[in-house]
Symmetry: C2
Subunit: 530 residues, 2 copies
């Protein structure tokens, strides 16, 4: 039941901070109950409790953390109906989409459960002692990934389940052995509280310290800043706007002890359709692209927002077909008034640009509805105006028509860091434009050939990351099992007695994990020298 | 031959910047020839050339990068005599130590050569397409580690070979596929230039683009800042002082595009001797500890600088024995006048502290010589004064006597992030003080039982890293094969045609590397579905 309360020390918290309400984006009406912002003191207390909990939680075996994660997954599934109902009221996202997102959230928790139960993720490495080596003997050196400490997680607006309270950041941080303090996104507080209650119940029923998890509400930014700058908080996971992410990065970098952050912030997701592909599959690509850039009302981190097409008749036909889809598009309200206003003003801003033409726009039903829009300009405009290369959240995309191969490569080289880059082409295209993929490899975390960037698969090989400003650190991902590496550090154990070693590093390999022994991967035991 | 010139675009560079000379720390005399600082323009040019080189170098197979690294290793061995002679003149480090360091430098290059030739380091992952999956088919998702781009490397003063021009930062960055621009340490410019010439020759003889490597001299900080803030530089490796590292971290964080940095900066390397170990092995530990904290005149990142002992008679005897070693210690000049002055004033600073007592100090031969020193104070002093917990570079150590178990744990908890933490204990000690290792695990990158922190082994399991301020990011290491992970990022390839995939990700596994297929490690090929 939604109480309008933060969760701290295992209990719902009576806060006296600024109050706020969730709003139904479809109707504009305020939703019950009223929520109260937590205080900086609450944030400090959450950090202290998390540090206390860390001393216990980080020592649990992977099997215990796995049980906890599965308990959360089942708990979320157990309240699927009220949870989806509330999330639908708060986000206006279709129920079917939210049901899918709920399944993804539960599956994600179970993926991390399996990962840490199996244990090989921790990259155990053993270089056994060589007492006979000359001129100097070698000590026994072993290393394995261990948790960082309390992690602050910021829920995202656009995935009220999968990138929020029990989303990928929380799941991967808990899996690695870190307590988590979530700063809830104020756009879906009821959804957040319901999921927070599930996690809190799992904490209790798994016998974990209360500080393993906390959920804090705040209508403003005070609590978030307090968490990121608290000495006991050791890492940050964030999905949100470039401005918000940059501000928190600066806070993290200015600490007495700077801490690792992973901010997923901003991406235009460039999309190239090469000449022969345009000839061969214009209609199919136009349909797929339309679906992709309007999916979830364009409120996706991986929405293709910049489409590169040549100046030729095939591209003209492609654009015409795409415009037809947009003109006939269904419409729906966006996630929040703020996002909606930002989208409307962003589209207007682009239209004010002399070279930008509005090719198609869906009609409007109510003020809250987002109008899918198709804009077009020249490659040289996009080269000259960096604003046109920036993300605009919402169901619009901008077509840039390049006049020749040189301009195409200039455009690719001018791109900032991206989560994804997509190229549609035939074998012939790739023979001619193969270098384009090489340029894009330097720009994006995920390259897609003849597909679409939305619909991010949660799997072992997925990378949802990329060079700045798409994320704060291109060496990590926030989706897929590799997301756990954000929240772990290698610790080396030299000449440790067997009994004091983590299980992953004991000679007999009691967990049966993959380990690197003298540089070679194996699941064998270490045979001590006679 | 030492020319006194930077190396840029494959050639020795005539620079007109401020001139400086190397100085023989043993005699104070200036060494020939005169060096000239490079300019900010030179740094900009190096960055542009590196970016151009990157387009070619990053596409080379691991076998080609391995050949290059081995070529450098052989080249360094080929000039071993003049190189050690010059390094000895510039650093006053004993020739035998420098010969060992040269061997380590060459071995390190060969270790990375083997790593990238074998290829499994790149963590290839494949989740094959599932076209029949419902409700949605799964795309083919593959990822592998790829290089970041041009890396700026800052040579350290204390390892003129192994942490300098061809040291671990350069070797790991080149191995991963990144061009390297080295800002030479001005304390050993001749050594730097000789090694730079070797690398430059290897670049030529391996047919690589000239921008793959550059070496820039600067008596000041301009060139270093220009490199760290240059838009085309994509990562930084640094070993040096806390002040220098922090300044560069701020520069990197303030860029329009912040970049990953690994700064190895400062560590006191706490060393605990537990009560039963003191009873059982006082003499042996005192001897080992003395050797460790005076090794290389205490000019080691892992020098044990803070020794925790109980207040009891066993510890008194231990201290007396340690003092005897120090009184009889050999003396020698430190690396530079600046380091020497800093050491002298640092020891004096500590002596001014009311609670700190000088227990022993070696005699002095010349002004340049460093005086090994043994200081002692109480645990409560160390708890109260954070200055006493900071690194002091040089052959001294500070003993802190704790009065009880609570004070011991308070001291351990008060520690900042460390490269290493060492505990000497018997089984009985660990039964009583086992929690101490748990506390220290949160503080240090490497934990040592009944050993000594100096003498960092270059191997697969080594971690030479740790929480801030020992390094800028506890998730990485600058020594051992895992150092390569600092300079690589995962890139995901979705639905790529086989021909366009990196070799590591091709179905048939042409490189024979270990890969994760559907979450399981294997060297098998991917069998495409019929």
């Amino acid at each position: 039941m939604v109480l309008g309360m933060s969760i701290l020390n295992g209990e719902s918290l009576t806060s006296s901070g600024a109050s706020f309400s969730a709003k139904n984006p479809a109707t504009g009406e305020k939703l019950e109950p009223i929520f109260h912002s937590a205080s900086v003191n609450d944030a400090n207390r959450a950090a202290s409790l998390a540090e206390d909990a860390f001393a216990v939680y980080r020592r649990l075996p992977g099997s215990a953390r796995a049980k906890f994660l599965r308990h959360i997954a089942s708990g979320i599934e157990g309240i699927a109906t009220p949870l989806v109902d509330r999330a639908h009221l708060e986000s206006a996202l279709p129920e079917k989409r939210l049901q899918g997102e709920l399944a993804r959230t539960a599956n994600q928790l179970r993926m991390f459960a399996q990962l840490v139960e199996e244990g090989s993720w921790a990259m155990a490495r053993i270089d056994p002692a060589e007492p006979e080596r000359t001129p100097l003997p070698r000590a026994d050196i072993r290393s394995v990934l261990r948790p960082l400490g309390p992690v602050a997680v910021f829920g995202a607006s656009n995935f009220p389940l999968a990138f929020s309270v029990a989303g990928g950041d929380t799941a991967s941080a808990l899996a690695a052995g870190n307590p988590v303090i979530v700063k809830a996104h104020p756009a879906h507080p009821g959804t957040s509280e319901l999921v927070g209650q599930v996690i809190n119940r799992s904490v209790k029923e798994c016998g974990l310290p209360a500080g393993t998890f906390a959920l804090l509400f705040d209508a403003g930014t005070e609590v978030g800043v307090a968490l990121v700058t608290h000495p006991k908080v050791k890492a940050v996971g964030f999905t949100g706007s470039l401005a918000g992410g940059k501000a928190l990065m600066q806070h993290a970098a200015s600490r007495l002890e700077p801490i690792p952050c992973f901010m997923e912030m901003s991406s235009t997701n460039p999309f190239f359709v090469l000449p022969e592909a345009l000839k061969a599959r214009a209609s199919s690509i136009a349909g797929g692209l339309f679906t992709s850039f309007t999916l979830g009302l364009g409120q996706m981190c991986t929405k293709p927002g910049l489409i590169f097409l040549p100046v030729n008749g095939d591209a003209d036909l492609f654009v015409k077909e795409l415009a037809g889809h947009v003109n006939a598009a269904g419409i729906a309200p966006m996630l929040t008034e703020g996002i909606h206003n930002h989208y409307i003003s962003g589209v207007k801003e682009r239209q004010r640009h002399a070279g930008v033409e509005m090719l198609a726009q869906a009609g409007s039903a109510t003020e809250a509805d987002a109008l899918p829009a198709l804009l077009q300009t020249s490659g040289s405009d996009v080269l000259q105006d960096a604003e046109l290369r920036k993300e605009l959240f919402g169901p619009c995309t901008l077509i840039a028509r390049y006049k020749d191969r040189d301009e195409l490569f200039a455009l690719a080289n001018a791109l900032e860091g991206q989560l994804t880059a997509t190229v549609h082409g035939t074998d012939e295209d790739f023979a001619e434009f193969g270098d384009l993929l090489q340029v894009l490899e330097g720009k994006a975390g995920r390259l897609i050939v003849n597909g679409y960037p939305t619909g991010v698969e949660v799997c072992h090989a997925m990378i949802h990351g990329g060079p700045y400003p798409s994320t704060s650190d291109s060496r990590f991902t926030s989706v897929g099992s590799q997301a756990i590496f954000r929240f772990a550090r290698p610790v080396c154990f030299q000449d440790f007695p067997q009994a004091l070693l983590p299980d992953e590093l004991k000679d007999e390999n009691p967990l049966g994990v993959w380990r690197m022994i003298n540089g070679a991967l194996t699941r064998d035991a270490v045979v001590p020298k006679a």
